[in-house]
């Protein structure tokens, strides 16, 4: 089976190292290393597992970001992807999820027919979990989000979709869009040989012109989302543990405390 798989990935700041500017209330990105978004690494790993099983499978990774996002594609190629495409253009700067998915949908259409599109559930910098599902909607293909288990045969795909209190088992046909979570797999490392091949590879950059996209649908001005303010929530006060000899006493103390604080009267 020779499948065509597209993986959408994003370069994000390593949140272990991120701090918030106390004055501007924005992320301090200077000097913070960029990494392959964790859920996207799971997306790529699942594609690579399919390729392990069906070696004729072709994996294209597409990312949208500034020119340095090319490093992310080098990393994906060094892990085993076949091709990387960078979507990058000043005109795309400031895009929210709607505008981003417009650009990425155009890129996916330009790549051509595919069987499965994998995207990570969400990026750790924005945490929206919207881009993957929006691409699926705009392409008009079936989608399943929060995929934690994946299996396939010649005809169809079966996935487990994680919910807060359990999971759904869903069977669907290709082509389809799946968003992945960390429970799905453990991403592999780059190989040393893969690194030396990947750095030499020519990675195409597609801008608005190559995507033949309406400039009114991308970029900051076309984005319906506006961030009014971001802030660090004030830390909550310490909780209090009520430890009495029996539950009845605990309930009594709790009642007194709630009355005292005018939560109930």
């Amino acid at each position: 089976m020779a499948l065509k798989i597209i993986v959408c990935a994003k370069q994000v700041p390593d949140t272990n190292e991120v701090k918030i500017d106390p004055v501007k209330n924005t992320l301090i990105r200077e000097g913070v290393p960029s990494i392959l978004n964790h859920d996207d690494a799971n997306a790529l790993e699942e594609a690579l597992k399919i390729k392990d099983q069906y070696p004729d499978t072709h994996i294209t990774v597409v990312t949208m970001g500034p020119p340095q996002a090319k490093d992310l594609l080098i990393e994906c190629l060094a892990m085993g992807a076949d091709e990387g495409i960078l979507v990058s253009d000043r005109a795309l700067g400031g895009s929210d999820t709607w505008a981003t998915s417009n650009a990425l949908t155009a890129a996916v259409k330009k790549i051509g027919k595919f069987d499965i599109l994998f995207a990570g559930r969400q990026a750790i910098d924005g945490d929206t979990a919207q881009v993957g599902p929006q691409i699926a909607e705009k392409l008009g293909f079936p989608q399943v989000t929060y995929v934690k288990e994946f299996s396939m045969n010649e005809k169809n795909i079966t996935v487990k979709r994680a919910l807060e209190d359990g999971y759904e088992v869903i069977q669907l046909q290709m082509p389809c869009v799946l968003t992945t979570i960390k429970e799905l797999n453990t991403p592999r490392y780059m190989t040393i040989g893969g690194i030396y091949d990947a750095v030499k590879r020519d990675i195409p950059t597609w801008g608005a012109r190559e995507l033949e996209i309406d400039l009114n649908t991308v970029g900051l001005d076309a984005s319906p989302t506006n961030v009014f303010r971001s802030f660090t929530p004030a830390p909550k006060g310490k909780g209090m543990m009520l430890e009495c000899d029996c539950e009845k006493d605990t309930a009594k103390v709790l009642l007194e405390k709630l009355v005292e604080k005018h939560v109930i009267s």
Partner: protein, 381 residues
């Protein structure tokens, strides 16, 4: 002059660091305590191309360079000195002489599986009476017409108990002495008459395998002579020139690992109402340690770069090893000291790092031998 790593080398550091943190560090204390050779880690290193970093893809290598190789050993050693030397001995002491002196047939038969990590490599020069004075070889190889017959004993052989392929020096013509009398042979562990002798119980790098090799009428095929007859001493010395880059990288990694552990500890540990990191006396010591580590790094990468460029690098690899090994001992000793009582117990990794550091001043030429090499370059032999 350009002090920046290439993009490839930066990615190698990123990859090996992730690998080391996930696959090596979690078991480093355990394999040290149990004196257990990490077979499972070696398999993973093979899978990801860590056992043939500086060799061409044509021969199963990763297609990298010696700076990338130095970074690989450094990053592994940053969390586990034993794992670092397994990689170093395999690559520098077995892969490299096969690559440089091997015939095409020998490269296909031995270098390809060595680089792919399907086989593990080792190197046998040291003998009970021929350590620093490597010329005093007593292992003999006699031409028996259709094969070579080896008799003798090698000691302190890194990877000895787990290697599949050994590069062995043996005397083929005693009258000629070292210059022309020693030859190199490729020996497989299954050759008749070859066996593993004593397994050494060491102070440090306890998870690496260090053994005696015993040759009793060991039958080695004629085609397994490496290089020309009588070229063995030159092969051994040139191999060690490169091997020292590996050991220097190991020492550098151990020093960096102990330094990083100490920085973290100093930020957390409070005495007299403030963290250790606030005491200027300790800050100054840390500044000194970091300066030495950076100086060692420059020496190591410079020697590796000279090797890649085909320049004469022997004295430079000796300087790199001398300085990096002494830095490793200096930094790990201070690291233990700064941890106080906690540094002396095995719950903290600096105790292991200090034990692991000591050997870097000894093997592949003691610090004194490095000074002999450097002095010979200054004054001539």
């Amino acid at each position: 002059m350009n002090f920046q790593l290439t993009k490839e080398q930066e990615f190698v550091r990123k990859m090996v660091r992730e690998f080391a943190l996930n696959e090596v560090e979690p078991i480093a204390a355990e394999i040290d305590k149990e004196h257990r050779f990490p077979v499972e880690t070696v398999e993973k290193m093979a899978h990801y191309g860590l056992l043939g970093v500086p060799f061409p893809k044509k021969y199963g290598g990763a297609g990298g360079d010696h700076i990338a190789y130095a970074i690989t050993v450094e990053e592994l050693s940053r969390v586990c000195g034993s794992t670092g030397v397994i990689c170093s001995a395999h690559t520098s002491l077995c892969g490299w002489p096969l690559w440089v002196y091997g015939t095409e047939e020998q490269k296909q038969k031995y270098l390809v599986p060595i680089n792919k990590g399907e086989k593990l490599g080792a190197f046998g020069l040291t003998e009970p009476n021929a350590g620093t004075d490597a010329a005093g070889q007593q292992t003999r190889a006699v031409d028996r017409g259709d094969h070579w017959e080896l008799n003798g004993t090698k000691i302190f052989i890194t990877n000895g108990g787990y290697a599949d392929v050994f590069i062995i020096m043996a005397m083929t013509d005693k009258k000629k002495g070292t210059r022309g009398g020693v030859s190199s042979f490729i020996v497989e562990k299954d050759f008749p008459g070859f066996s593993i002798g004593k397994i050494e119980d060491k102070m440090g790098i306890c998870a690496s395998s260090t053994t005696e090799l015993v040759f009793q009428n060991c039958i080695v095929p004629k085609e397994n002579l490496l290089g020309e007859l009588g070229q063995g001493f030159k092969i051994a010395m040139s191999t060690l020139d490169g091997g020292r880059i590996g050991i220097a990288s190991q020492a550098l990694g151990i020093a960096q690992g102990a330094f990083d552990e100490t920085v973290n500890y100093m930020k957390e540990r409070k005495q007299f109402g403030r963290s250790l990191s606030k005491f200027q006396a300790l800050q100054f010591e840390m500044a000194d340690m970091k300066t030495r580590i950076e100086a060692a790094r420059l020496l190591v990468y410079q020697a590796a770069d000279m090797k890649d460029k085909g320049l004469k690098y022997g004295p430079n690899s000796a300087m790199a090893k001398l300085f990096a090994a002494e830095t490793a001992m200096y930094v790990t000793t201070k690291a233990v000291q700064f941890h106080g009582g906690y540094g002396f117990i095995k719950d903290y990794p600096v105790e292991r790092m200090m034990r692991d550091a000591k050997i870097t001043e000894i093997y592949e030429g003691t610090s004194e031998v490095q000074k002999m090499v450097i002095a010979a370059d200054i004054f001539g032999k």
